[in-house]
């Protein structure tokens, strides 16, 4: 008989009954500390894609193989511009049966998507695309909205948009997991706190732990450092590239956050079966080329693009600037907390390998039965 298994769950809001059950198998699992540690760096869920799997929740390699890190291509030479233009053609041909809704937060990443569409599609193709945004999106990039969005796309207010109601009729596109191609907010904060990101992380344990302690207590900071150290001790080729503090910050994003970020949209829906979601929800930045670029270039962005506040995600902003010539956006746009387009999740869920979801309210016994197989029990 085919036995189901849990392949994904939301970690940062685990119900107490689940936490207690985890502790039966991993007695030293400290969920509160885990949340504090990873709340520094993780929004939703954390799964280990490469290196030693030191996290409590198992990365189901076979089921999640689409999220496995690509083998490093030493000859990779595509630029961010080339990748982003090609991504447009790739997705338009692959997802052509329904019109699109682009979730435009107004931030850098979702603006990159719109620029790619505007550069590479015909007017007829653009007429099949709706931009979902709200006043906050406009506030983030008002000139772009005024000059390009209003003139070229249908728009809809994202505040009133319920994604789960649109999946039948639309493909939904968002800007995840673009943040993870760079060192992210953690790297930016580290730079702003005075850490020299070009230094070797192995020789900077005290500085790194001190920096992390600014955001969480010292036990939590040490937990994060030691678990990363164990993960990176692996022979995995990807671990070998993590040398500097910038790489270290990037690695947390690139390795641990990828799955959760790509399925961020899933957490916000209440779908009994997620097949339609998986068929219709598109993460623009989740492909092999972007990941190769990140390994080759993106992880250096906080060192090589400059030390100014406006230098963050320079490649992305340059892509936008090449199109709209907005010097202010190129030079002054800093990382912000773009308003999530998603509704707040209604309840905690976990997903099985048949793409059905379980909830504590309806399926607690089954969850508790299947949970141990989803844990990395030593």
């Amino acid at each position: 008989m085919f036995r189901k298994k849990i392949v994904y769950m939301k970690h940062l809001s685990l119900p107490e009954v689940i936490v207690n059950h985890i502790n039966r198998y991993i007695p030293d699992y400290d969920h509160a500390s885990m949340c504090k540690s990873l709340n520094l760096v993780v929004h939703q869920s954390f799964y280990n894609r490469a290196g030693l799997d030191v996290l409590p929740f198992r990365f189901e390699t076979e089921f999640l193989k689409k999220f496995s890190m690509p083998q490093i291509d030493q000859k990779f030479s595509k630029t961010f511009t080339e990748i982003t233009d090609q991504r447009c053609y790739e997705l338009i041909s692959q997802y052509s049966q329904k019109p699109w809704i682009i979730q435009w937060s107004g931030g850098i990443d979702s603006t990159v998507i719109l620029v790619s569409l505007l550069k590479n599609l015909s007017k007829e193709q653009l007429s099949n695309i709706t931009v979902s945004c709200n006043a906050i999106s406009v506030f983030e990039n008002p000139l772009f909205f005024h000059n390009h969005v209003l003139k070229n796309f249908k728009t809809t207010n994202s505040t009133d948009l319920h994604i789960e109601e649109q999946l039948d009729d639309y493909y939904i596109v968002d800007g995840n997991p673009a943040d993870l191609l760079f060192s992210g907010g953690l790297g930016l904060n580290a730079k702003n706190s005075g850490l020299d990101l070009s230094k070797s992380w192995r020789n900077s344990a005290d500085e790194l732990i001190n920096f992390l302690t600014y955001y969480a207590d010292s036990n939590v900071a040490k937990w994060l450092y030691t678990h990363m150290e164990a993960n990176l001790a692996s022979d995995d080729e990807h671990c070998q590239v993590v040398e500097t503090l910038a790489d270290w910050c990037w690695w947390i994003n690139f390795n641990w956050k990828w799955v959760g970020d790509c399925w961020h949209g899933l957490d916000a829906q209440r779908l009994k079966n997620t097949q339609l979601y998986h068929n219709s929800y598109i993460n623009w930045f989740d492909n092999t080329d972007y990941q190769q670029w990140s390994i080759k270039c993106g992880r250096y962005s906080l060192i090589e693009d400059g030390f100014g506040m406006g230098d963050y995600k320079k490649s992305s902003k340059q892509y936008i600037h090449d199109f709209d010539h907005n010097d202010y956006y190129l030079n002054f746009k800093t990382k912000g907390h773009s308003t999530a387009q998603m509704k707040q999740p209604q309840s905690w869920i976990c997903m099985l390998d048949d793409l059905s979801t379980l909830t504590v309210e309806d399926d607690l016994d089954l969850i508790l039965e299947l949970l141990p197989a989803h844990l990395n029990i030593k």
Binding site: I136, F139, P142, L143, H146, G185, L188, N192, S193, G308, M309, G310, Y328, N331, F332, T334, K335, G336, H337, T339
Partner: protein, 211 residues
């Protein structure tokens, strides 16, 4: 129109308070104010270019009157900039207390004088909106209109024009990049829209010139 007419030093006869609007990418103050009543609107208007963060200058240990004003504010930054939550959605209701005023680097390639001039112009026009909307006459009539909204059936009138002028000013400041075009657009719009508002504008300019 000479831009000198828009320039204000950032001092006041009425208060010793001095606040600075700090820009993180340039890492320097771009505007000094002694009145924060318009800071919210000013920073929202300027957000089409960059984000500005309000700092309390009086708290600096090396603060002195005449140390910093709008003629030289770009030469200064704050020592404790890591206390400013950059990236957090604009929260302008609290000012960061400056610990020390320190010289800013002179390595910026950006035309800072142009930005300062633009901010002075924004302040001028936003304060003008504030003046005409808070004029006692305007406030009294708006109050009575709320009570007798159906009995006093105003058609397109002076008060609707104030809203039109306000929207026009905000749009120009928000989207237009050229300072001369901003001022020409706004001045001629006011002149063509409402003679009473235009006369208020003349009074306001004369008042500033006398100071």
């Amino acid at each position: 129109m000479s831009f000198n007419k828009f320039f204000q030093w950032g001092y006041s006869d009425l208060t010793d308070n001095q606040f600075g609007l700090w820009e993180p990418t340039l890492d320097r103050f771009l505007l000094i104010l002694n009145d924060v009543s318009l800071v919210d609107c000013l920073t929202m208007v300027s957000s089409s270019r960059y984000n500005l963060y309000l700092c309390n200058l009086n708290s600096a240990q090396n603060y002195a009157t005449n140390l910093i004003d709008n003629s030289c504010c770009e030469n200064w930054t704050l020592s404790n900039k890591n206390q400013i939550k950059i990236g957090k959605f604009n929260q302008y209701n609290t000012a960061t207390n400056v610990e020390f005023l320190v010289p800013s680097s002179d390595s910026s390639k950006w035309d800072i004088k142009q930005e300062k001039a633009w901010l002075q112009i924004c302040r001028f026009w936003l304060y003008f909106i504030h003046k005409i909307k808070n004029h006692q006459w305007h406030q009294k009539i708006q109050f009575i209109k709320k009570i007798y909204s159906s009995e006093l059936n105003y058609s397109h009138d002076y008060f609707d024009n104030i809203d039109l002028v306000e929207t026009y000013i905000l749009k120009n400041l928000y989207f237009e990049r050229d300072i001369e075009i901003i001022n020409q657009n706004i001045s001629s719009f006011i002149l063509n829209t409402d003679s009473v508002i235009a006369s208020h504008l003349n009074e306001y300019k004369l008042c500033l010139e006398k100071k």
